[in-house]
């Protein structure tokens, strides 16, 4: 190859890397026409310290009606139990809180990060999509989604259009998704930054439900780079508006010198400190750039993905993921997986609120809006049976480490654990079969 050809190939590859695919990909596994194929999974997710535990099952069914017209439907059921960090800080004394229902109290031991252990939910979700060619080189896809849990309902729809170019080596796509979620919290909707009250006192909450709307736009670009490498780049824009608070998250109001939560004396049963409900803006705009490369080194296949996300809450995040699928004989494979995630805190993240200082308009101590990084290490083993079905098992370990900005740590807080570090074990069984 001549030098200038080399240059143009490199330029083309670089160009491909800069652009953005969402729906159709130029390479795709063949499914048999006129048959149902199923993909099923059973998941165990368990966090350390008796925090959240989720047992989840999902079944996905696909049918190819010929001429690339395909139907896909997925049913998911989740059962969640356990405890979740409430946002209140750890203290040297026991802390008592009113539960979200407003009907009982729970207590946290000295030194422990407060966890709300009244967390229990069952969730069902149904997603369905239809894909078909619209004209030569065009693929159209439409989907709907619905999910329900005790205090939350989600309804969504999406549309995508993809076009192939270059002997189907290039695909450009555009997609639009809309969803509306309704939130009807246990015990009512807390008024932002109002105080947690005694059992039976509903003055900081109101009845009714709230909703949020999410609009997503996705622009995608998929490119076959050579006989063994394929690239996908997506740009996505997401706009959420409406009720974006977590109605169960609170903040401790602390003494400006000691950093300890102000003492409150309940009249009957109630909180023994001053806690207020969080307050978030009613809109959020996120943008992300996602790039993924798949490359075959002979039989083994490597997957590499990177995502950058930025939003108008001040959160920036970077996610990197690597997987290497290594065949073991003709029927099995082993796939080590590694993921690293890091995010900066939202502008309104506060470990606690200082008594006497002007109350900010927005404040949240939700650890998910804080500054942290997370690592997932995992391994998957898959085996194909003689009849062409495949079963797999995947085990992962997830570890989150966060920190509170030094300028937010006051007095005694420095001596205690302030950020609820999290670790979780994930075990998943999968089985794919056709009928």
């Amino acid at each position: 190859m001549k030098k200038d050809e080399n240059f143009s190939a490199a330029l083309a590859a670089a160009t491909c890397a800069l652009l953005g695919s969402a729906v159709a990909t130029p390479v795709r596994a063949q499914e048999e026409t006129g048959k149902w194929s199923f993909d099923s999974t059973l998941l165990y997710y368990g966090e350390s310290d008796d925090r959240v535990r989720d047992i989840s099952g999902a079944v996905s069914a696909q049918r190819d009606f010929g001429d690339d017209r395909k139907l896909s439907a997925t049913l998911t059921a989740d059962t969640l139990t356990g405890a979740s960090a409430s946002g209140a800080i750890a203290l040297g004394r026991p802390q008592t809180f009113t539960s979200p229902s407003g009907r009982a109290v729970y207590t946290t031991n000295p030194g422990d990060v407060p966890l709300d252990d009244t967390f229990l939910d069952t969730r069902f979700a149904l997603n369905a999509s239809w894909t078909q060619p619209l004209a030569r080189l065009y693929t159209f896809s439409a989907g709907v989604g619905f999910s329900t849990e005790y205090d939350y309902t989600h309804l969504g729809a999406n549309l995508s259009l993809a076009r192939d170019f270059n002997k189907r080596n290039t695909t450009l796509s555009a997609g639009l998704a809309w969803s509306q979620d309704d939130i009807d919290p246990v015990g009512g909707l807390p008024l932002p930054l109002s105080q947690m009250r005694d059992v039976g006192d509903g003055s900081s909450k109101r009845d009714g439900s709230e909703s949020k709307d999410v609009l997503d736009l996705l622009l995608g670009f998929t490119q076959v780079l050579n006989r063994t490498t394929v690239l996908r780049v997506n740009f996505s824009y997401s706009d959420s508006s409406g009720y974006l608070n977590d109605p169960y998250k609170i903040l401790s109001v602390v003494d400006p010198l000691t950093g300890d939560t102000l003492i409150r004396t309940p009249l009957g049963q109630g909180p023994n400190g001053v806690y207020v409900f969080e307050s978030r803006p009613d809109s959020r705009t996120k943008q992300s750039l996602y790039a993924e490369v798949k490359h075959a080194f002979g039989k083994p296949v490597m997957h590499f993905a990177y995502r950058f996300m930025t939003d108008d809450w001040g959160i920036d995040s970077h996610t990197g993921e690597v997987r290497l699928r290594w065949p073991l004989g003709a029927d099995s494979y082993i796939e080590p997986q590694l993921r690293y995630y890091t995010q900066s805190a939202a502008d309104f993240y506060r470990a606690s609120l200082v008594s006497g200082a002007a109350l900010p308009r927005y404040a949240s101590a939700d650890f998910r809006l804080g500054d942290f990084d997370a690592t997932t290490v995992g391994i998957k083993y898959g085996h194909s049976t003689v009849s062409g079905n495949e079963w797999s098992i995947r085990a992962e370990y997830y570890q989150q480490n966060g920190s509170v900005p030094r300028e937010q740590i006051i007095g005694n807080q420095a001596n205690r654990e302030q950020y609820p570090d999290l670790s979780a074990v994930i075990v998943q069984f999968g089985y794919r079969f056709s009928l």
Binding site: G156, G175, S179, M309
Partner: protein, 68 residues
């Protein structure tokens, strides 16, 4: 930026057509699909959506749960 993007798209459309249909033996392997394990991807998206402040990117933004 407004001029650069269409230029890059044009270059991409004319510059990347290296692989002929009869050369797709490796790309046609199921594990080379960009959506090899859609349920794994959906589960990951659900877990990370409920534990981190970012979602989506690979596909639409996930969500649809009051995960706490």
């Amino acid at each position: 930026m407004k001029k650069i993007v269409p230029a890059l798209v044009l270059l991409a459309l004319t510059g990347c057509a290296g692989v002929q249909p009869w050369e797709r033996d490796v790309l046609a392997r199921p594990e080379m699909s960009l959506d090899t394990a859609p349920l794994d991807a959906a589960i990951d998206e659900h877990i990370y959506f409920s534990k981190e402040a970012s979602s989506g990117g690979r596909g639409f933004g996930g969500g649809g749960c009051g995960c706490n």
